[in-house]
Symmetry: C3
Subunit: 216 residues, 3 copies
């Protein structure tokens, strides 16, 4: 198996995992078969489509290579029919989702750097590649995006993107180090899940001293 | 009337119909005049703007040709003032909407194929051109997109897009056959409406045998 | 201070103001720190990203110049920690927001005209540059965009965009006249706020003559 075959295989694994997460959300919202496939498609490929538009790689890979759309559609349809079994795989899905997050962060940041986007912008694009599909999934199912509400998810992606940009500026963006960056995102995400780490939430009303009335 | 004049006329008819559907949804949500025109604009032109960004035809036609934005805005404003009469035209609107769907599917798929997008991607872009405006309309009015929930709508577009891609690969993408593809989408949509066809919805809880406890 | 330095300073002021408005909305929705920064980023830079994609200036300025993303992120984070004090600045924020609206309208329309977009399309792009961030903010926090519901906000931007397009067609798009167009948007917005001007809302049920029953 050559490097590029390995990369394609890894990429399509990420697509499948994100398609499954989108399809699950759509099933829970009682969407029909088409809606489930469509939300799966957006969850799997939305981040990459945005990335490709931003770096002017047109048509976006999701449309240029049939394997991407097909992988997303077949996976989402499978979830539609198999979702009771799928629900029992919840832990597996979370682990695969963390792997997808890690992979899309690294490839998204790299592609942006290759397209001559400066480092800060490339980090943002890399993070958006990784979380964009989940954002689209939540917008389509009329939810405030979960990535904005809790858990170290986007932050893990951002840390990985910064690592990739640093490696690139040091001329060390080779397979070994990039894999290390992906592992960093993956581990960070899993540890955050395990320990229920979250980013802080602002206190809307600072606690007051003194007696409080029965009803506000 | 030349072919290109006929095509422009058909295109603007689609724009007007989708603008009317968006404006109606916005009136129902109590948006103000500007909101009604804006949602009409997005419903009419959102799909095409996405298509043009994806195939790198910039600026998108919606901005490059003033007749598109003007048609959308004038139609939406007319709905704003005339909507009680408009509501009585519901059947007419559904028929015109099916015509718009058919037209945008065929032209969207063709434009993507002309821009060298491979067949699978071109079908997805063609379908998104046709349903993208409706998605935007529903997102702006904070609804789960209706196209994802019920009825054979996007599926009719997808079937038409596949037909166009097949015709193109056979070298038969001439006016006659393309018109036939559009008629296929149009008829499929109208029959689905008439017979209340829908895509299947997943069963969330498969029926269980045996006695069930009083309250979970 | 040279003209281009002044322009950059003004542009970044607009970014900061819109980031603050997005961050405030996110704090109110109980998003976590990352969510607050992200919504601030979208509110500040979303309109400009759309504009740059539409005129094929890639990568969009928000990714190409690190000062934009940094200004947005730092401002949003500051709001996260300081928001009780920030709430007391409400009037100041509204005035700054009007200034941001004015500025983004003028620069957005100009950039579109410079990219050879015809006048009508350039006006729409200019307006979308100014209101796009607020639309993104409201979509991410699952609200019907406020700009579609009330107040002369987008309309002020549209008037300014038309003024810029007229000046450009008359060959008078110099600093003096462009500043006048920005002031026009700014004043129009402030007067609308002050006088509670709104665009009209359609009457859903025209009043009927005759006696009405007690309960519908």
């Amino acid at each position: 198996m050559t490097t590029s075959t390995a990369l394609l295989f890894a990429d399509l694994t990420g697509v499948a995992v994100f398609a499954a997460s989108g399809a699950s959300a759509a099933v829970a919202k009682r969407l029909d078969l088409f809606g489930v496939v469509f939300v799966g498609f957006v969850a799997a490929l939305g981040g990459g489509i945005f990335r490709d538009l931003a770096i002017d790689e047109v048509p976006p890979l999701a449309f240029a290579d049939w394997r991407y759309a097909t992988t997303a559609a077949v996976t989402a349809a499978a979830v539609f029919w198999l979702h009771p079994q799928f629900a029992r795989l919840r832990t597996t899905v979370l682990v695969l989702d963390a792997a997808g997050l890690a992979l899309f962060t690294v490839t998204g940041t790299l592609k942006a750097l290759d397209a001559q986007v400066p480092a800060v912008g490339a980090c943002v694009i890399g993070m958006l590649t990784a979380i964009g599909g989940g954002l689209g999934r939540d917008l389509l199912t009329a939810e405030i995006p979960v990535v904005l509400r809790r858990e170290i998810y986007a932050v893990a992606a951002l840390v990985g993107a910064i690592a990739v940009a640093l490696l690139d500026s040091l001329g060390r963006a080779d397979t070994l180090w990039l894999t290390a960056a992906a592992v960093l995102v993956f581990v960070l995400r899993l540890v955050a899940l395990r320990r229920r780490w979250s980013a802080p939430i602002a206190t809307l009303r600072p606690p007051k001293t003194g007696v409080r009335g029965p009803q506000p």
